[in-house]
Amino acid sequence: MMKQQSNKRTIVLGLILIAVMALLSVAAEALAGSVSGLSMLLVVLKKGTVYALLAVSMNLLNGFTGLFSLGQAGFMLLGAYTYAILAIPVAKRAGVFQYYDGGVVQFSIPEIFSGFLGDVVGSVIGMLLTLVLCGLLAALLGWLIGLPSLRLKSDYLAIATLGFAEILRTFIQFEGSAPLTNGSNTLRQYTTFQHLYPYVIIVGVCILLIVLLVNSTYGRAFKAIRDDEIAAEAMGINLARHKMLSFVISSFFAGVGGGLMAMYMSSVQAKGFTSAMTYEILLMVVIGGIGSISGSVIASFLFIGCSEWWLRFLDDSSNNIGSFQLLAPGFRMVVFSVFIMVIVLFFRRGLLGDRELPDLARRMKKSFRKEGKHK
């Protein structure tokens, strides 16, 4: 009984939070023209939002279930390509697939829906469905990869999933699959969301779903597997089935995140989805705290903020004082690395550890009350 009530509370609070964020992003966009710096903030927020979903989906697997997988870039790649291929308007296909006679796919899902639901509503519904499809394809692939590789433990699983992601990237760039994927050429001109708020809403809903999953009996089983596989098995938790479930769900959201990433970048090329991208997301998970959803979200925004915005001035050699040429392109990454090392040194379990923001707030309230009593 109590359980259901707290679930309802999470849903209501989550939806309110999403609505507030969406309204704020609408307001920020309206003001972007007149306030300086705001347009850069919007870029960071958009990218950060997409990465938040990617980090949370990776945390579900690596943090909550304790499966160390490095296949994230592969599932993102599949999501991004699925979205891009299915959302290029038919009229533009000849231009995009210029070396392959317009490619083999000759329809666009957003266009199909706008055909009978009107331009705006139809294309939005079409885009959302395409995103779901990205997730479903990634989930299916996750299931196929999970069959052999989830028998592996720790590092071996990481190697296997890393290998798969590389294979997928090569396969997409392969000439034989080019009529479908455009080979190593860029996919572009597909329909995207221009504004920030659709990203906020989609990512918000996805993360809310993950939060509900983590708080459910399944989530508890995932954590049990992470903490002690043998005890979990002795309690009657089917290890293989739950690991697979976690892997497939994480892949689903990585696929959706990949689709959103394609949208945000407005052109995709398989070459960018290297294992370095996986490590970037892993870094966000580690910085935020393994096993903390709010930690992952915060870390993604901090990470993107640092790498895209606040540290940019370090790359600009015109900012140098005197003849000492310290600031130069790439110096930003040096400072950034130092930041990360400091975080890892002083927050060994990440910024939030395995706690969530509401827990911390509650704890602080409690300790304030205690201090008050002492006085």
């Binding site: 954590k223 049990a224 903490d227 002795a234 309690m235 009657g236 089917n238």
Partner: protein
Amino acid sequence: MLKIEDLHVSYGGIQAVKGISLEVPDGKIVTLIGANGAGKSTTLRTIAGLVPAQSGQIFLQDEKITNLSSDRIVSKGITLVPEGRRVFPDMTVLENLKIGAYLRRDRPEMEKDLQWVYDLFPRLKERSWQAAGTLSGGEQQMLAVGRALMSRPKIMMMDEPSLGLAPIVVQGIFEIIREINRQGVTILLIEQNANMALKVADQAYVMETGRITRQGTGQELLNDESIKEAYLGKHK
């Protein structure tokens, strides 16, 4: 009744169980005593479905349950309190107990069983929001037992519940074992603390290097000279 016939198990390349047969009648406390490495734990883990049997059969009320998966075994009413307690340290006491009821879907009955566990272990109720890792050894053992009871078992198997606990705490644990048994749960207990185990047991087996070498009622073995010498520390 749980019945084992000529069970062979090899575990980690070692023939740990070399053909044992034993019976655990309903409503009784049966104990399996023996030295380190005699194959006691492996026997329990095989019954629980965590380790595959090489040959031989395990029956629960005449139904063959050999080599079923562990979740099937739990849902048939056999649960294991693993050696070293193995509570989930980062989860709260309540979450640990809920994991015990993982396979059950009958919410109202689960609430009742939670009350039952809290009545058995009032300590757990006081600490239900505390992380299990912060409990004392004895409390963790209570939690491990409570967690196992949450699956509403017919047979509860306990692997060394007295391990690493203070004598006074061990006393308490054994009283609880008796109490749980009185409430209708059959118990299969393995122990190195042979003295305590034989005192509570209706039926006892002695295991040595993978074989059962002696059996009898708890009282018989407690009074047996050779058992006294080997396991009970007889005064000379």
